[in-house]
């Protein structure tokens, strides 16, 4: 039974955590792609930026969370989401819109977004340094240990406060997004523009508004993902490219331009990563007695070491590009 608890702690819980982060990031990437038709490479740095806004706010008001019993960072997150949304729209106006107005090829926008990535990285490190930070300033991280009934399991299932919050935030974000896309006028306009930009314009939809809203959603979701990730571990300014690959893989696995696909893709990539680095020897240990004498099980049996975690999203990406480039949910343009 202890092996099962180990599995739950190391696969189910941590897999759900990284999957949720990837899903939230991938939704943003996929929305930007479906409206503006380019892969936004600055997305991971937008996550970092949002988390740094939260850090700044939390340093200003470290005590706000105490009254409610939630981390201050979480209470202040909505403000940071608004700030990042504004920055995202500003970046679009300053750097992407002039390129769009020149009718450049989408790949030029990709290069533009790499320029933005570097500027964001430079600014963040210039102001905040390169070290890791914790978003818990005035409080401690709550850790819940769920003791299992019965004799067999002596170890508890461990789950932390930010992990629970992350789970609820992801569900909330997905429900809100679904409602927005299917019920609201702007959400439908967004889907329309993703389907057929020319016809959207001809129908009198103000495409600039739709683009601005897309950036706001992408920025806000990026902030939420970045903050929740930093609450769970720590805030590092140099995550950028390590987050970018799994997020892109998730978006492509789900089918580019497909928000629900992005969520599914996030879970595929997140769990694939977790399962690939999981030490399967632990689960096999109870069966050691059944083996004939002299047969030894390896003590360590993982598909890839944690240092090679980044190969997992890459090979998922390669596999999907080879076998099904439109993704699981039949995404857009290739």
């Amino acid at each position: 039974m202890n092996e099962l608890v180990f599995f739950i702690n190391n696969v189910v819980v941590s897999g759900t955590v990284s999957s949720s982060i990837y899903a939230m990031g991938a939704i943003g990437v996929t929305l930007v792609f479906s409206i503006m038709r380019f892969a936004h490479f600055a997305h991971a740095d937008m996550m970092t930026l949002g988390a740094f806004f939260v850090l700044g706010l939390t340093m200003l008001f470290p005590e706000v969370g105490v009254a409610v019993g939630l981390p201050s960072a979480l209470i202040l997150m909505p403000i940071a989401m608004v700030l990042t949304a504004i920055v995202a729209v500003g970046i679009d106006r300053a750097f992407y819109k002039p390129l769009r107005d020149h009718n450049v090829k989408p790949i030029v926008l990709v290069i533009g977004s790499l320029g933005v990535t570097l500027m964001l990285q430079g600014l963040i490190r210039l102001f905040a340094g390169t070290g890791s930070r914790s978003l818990y300033i005035a409080e401690r991280k709550d850790i819940f240990r769920l003791e299992l009934p019965g004799e067999l399991a002596t170890r508890p299932i461990v789950i932390t406060e930010p992990q629970i919050i992350l789970f609820f935030c992801t569900v909330g974000a997905v429900v809100a997004l679904h409602w927005f896309l299917t019920r609201s006028r702007l959400g439908k306009a967004m889907r329309a523009m993703s389907d057929n930009p020319d016809l959207a314009r001809v129908s009198g939809i103000n495409t600039n508004t739709v683009i601005a809203v897309t950036w706001m959603i992408a920025g806000a979701l990026a902030t939420a993902a970045g903050t929740l990730l930093s609450l769970d571990v720590v805030l590092k300014p140099d995550l950028s490219f390590f987050l970018l690959l799994p997020i892109f893989a998730a978006a492509i696995v789900g089918g580019v331009g497909h928000p629900y696909g992005a969520i599914a893709g996030g879970f595929v990539v997140g769990f694939a990563e977790t399962l690939a680095v999981f030490n399967w020897a632990v689960l096999l240990r109870p069966f050691q007695d059944m083996l004939p004498a002299g047969w030894e099980l390896p003590t360590y049996l993982a598909f890839v070491g944690t240092e090679y975690k980044i190969t997992v999203p890459f090979f998922i990406l390669v596999a999907i590009l080879v076998w099904r480039p439109t993704g699981l949910f039949k995404g857009k343009v290739l």
């Binding site: 380019f38 892969a39 490479f41 750097f95 002039p98 390129l99 020149h102 450049v104 090829k105 989408p106 790949i107 030029v108 990709v110 290069i111 533009g112 790499l114 320029g115 933005v116 990535t117 570097l118 500027m119 964001l120 990285q121 430079g122 600014l123 490190r125 210039l126 340094g129 390169t130 490219f241 390590f242 970018l244 690959l245 892109f248 492509i252 390896p298 049996l301 598909f303 070491g305 240092e307 090679y308 980044i310 190969t311 999203p313 890459f314 990406l317 390669v318 590009l321 080879v322 480039p325 343009v333 290739l334």
Partner: protein, 426 residues
């Protein structure tokens, strides 16, 4: 006369003459030894940038993982030129390593054989499932055999050591290695939208780096390998300035050869086909051009140049440090060189390489100087406390400067300072 109104050749000449000002500025301000070092590094970067300019400028393929190919060149320069490690060769480890490599070859053969099963009448679905299964088992067997041998090498010999061959052999092999990986990536991504190529190359670069950093038995990982021998007499024999100048002349010869080859290729039917594909894929396909083959050729060729340039750069620095390969220094810096100079224009790329490299190495001291000024003013006027780690923060200013450079060029000079000259054939 306005710059834009000049005939292009005069304009290029003027730009190159202007470039001499910052070059001499560096020589004067930092001394000839530093200046010579900068020139060699800029020349190595120019070779790498030429690789990117044929991919992006000639063919519109965007490679966001230059770093990976540069690192492959670097590791190959290290492995071939460093003296052999007697601790390794005198043990029984080489035999064991060979056995593991044989397992790998057998595994690959088995996987390839399984993937051909459909020719024997096995249904394609079953074949795919079988292939994936066999690949997984082969992979796990290989890893389980490699791990003990690798840790034995690490504990008994440190790493396998080099081959003691001349450095230039390592450079050529580095080019071939980079080209091989480029072939694999290009084969998968070149038929798709160019965004996917960017994502995939970004990923492969990080994977190559992760491998070089963690495969201690092969590369000594973060412990780094130094010194790497030069193909020319070192500073110990001739002094800094002279030895670096000789190194510089070697890289200059390489650039000249590459220029000659590229010039021939660009104006040959091959180059015309490449540009036709870039500018209008559909009509090029309609004229019966083999698009994917041409694309793959140019992508691989570009990767080869990146590998050679990276090998020359690593040899020059005389240290192989896998953590020293950074996306910023080895991907985005090169990108900035290419798009500033003029994608598709070899001279422009050379110009961009030198100019951007000077901006790059000068931006940290300049930023530090500016920050010191601000801090001094702050202390004098408002009584600020200076934040201690200004040096490391000023280093980050380079990141911002390169990003800003890329953004500004895209917006205000999308064809670069020396735009591609499209020849008119009669």
């Amino acid at each position: 006369m306005k710059l834009s109104a000049m005939p292009q050749s005069r304009r290029d000449l003027l730009l190159f003459l202007t470039l001499l000002i910052p070059v001499f500025g560096v020589f004067l301000a930092m001394g000839p030894a530093y200046g010579a070092r900068m020139s060699v590094e800029a020349a190595c970067y120019a070779i790498i940038a030429l690789g990117l300019t044929i991919q992006w400028g000639y063919a519109g393929q965007f490679n966001a993982g230059v770093m990976g190919f540069v690192a492959l060149g670097g590791v190959s320069a290290m492995l071939l030129s460093v003296p052999p490690n007697p601790d390794f060769w005198n043990s029984d480890l080489p035999g064991e390593l060979a056995r593991v490599l044989l397992t790998l070859v057998a595994g690959i053969a088995l996987v390839v054989a399984t993937s051909r099963l459909h020719r024997l009448g096995v249904s394609r679905r079953i074949r795919t499932v079988l292939t994936v299964g066999v690949a997984l088992i082969a992979y796990l067997t290989f890893i389980n055999q490699l791990t003990p041998v690798a840790s034995a090498i690490e504990s008994q010999a440190g790493f396998i050591g080099g081959m003691g061959l001349p450095a230039w052999v390592g450079w050529l092999v580095g080019g071939a290695l980079a080209g091989g990986i480029g072939y694999f990536i290009g084969h998968i991504c070149l038929g798709l939208r160019s965004d996917y190529l960017a994502i995939a190359t970004l990923g492969i670069a990080e994977i190559i780096k992760a491998f070089l950093k963690n495969a201690d038995w092969l590369t000594r990982g973060t412990a780094t390998v130094s010194p790497l021998p030069w193909p020319t007499p070192g500073a110990g024999e001739l002094g800094f300035v002279l030895s670096r100048s000789i190194y510089l002349s070697i890289t200059a010869v390489m650039i000249a050869v590459i220029f000659f080859l590229l010039h021939r290729a660009y104006h040959a039917p091959w180059g015309r086909t490449i540009r036709a594909i870039r500018d209008n894929e559909v009509s090029a396909a309609a004229m019966g051009k083999n698009i994917n083959k041409r694309r793959l050729e140019i992508f691989v060729f570009g990767c080869v140049l990146m590998g050679i340039g990276g090998a020359a750069l690593t040899s020059f620095n005389s240290i192989f440090d896998p953590s020293g390969y950074l996306p910023l220094n080895h991907t985005f810096l090169v990108l900035a060189m290419v798009i500033l100079g003029g994608p598709g224009n070899n001279l422009g790329t050379l110009f961009g390489a030198v100019l951007v490299y000077i901006i790059w190495i000068m931006s940290a001291p300049v930023a530090l100087f500016l920050m010191d000024l601000v801090v001094m003013a702050g202390q004098a006027w408002f009584g600020w406390e200076s934040a201690g780690n200004l040096d490391s923060r000023a280093l980050q200013a380079r990141v911002f400067v390169i990003g800003l450079l890329i953004s500004l060029v895209l917006r205000y000079a999308p064809k670069g300072l020396m735009p591609e000259r499209v020849p008119h054939h009669r």
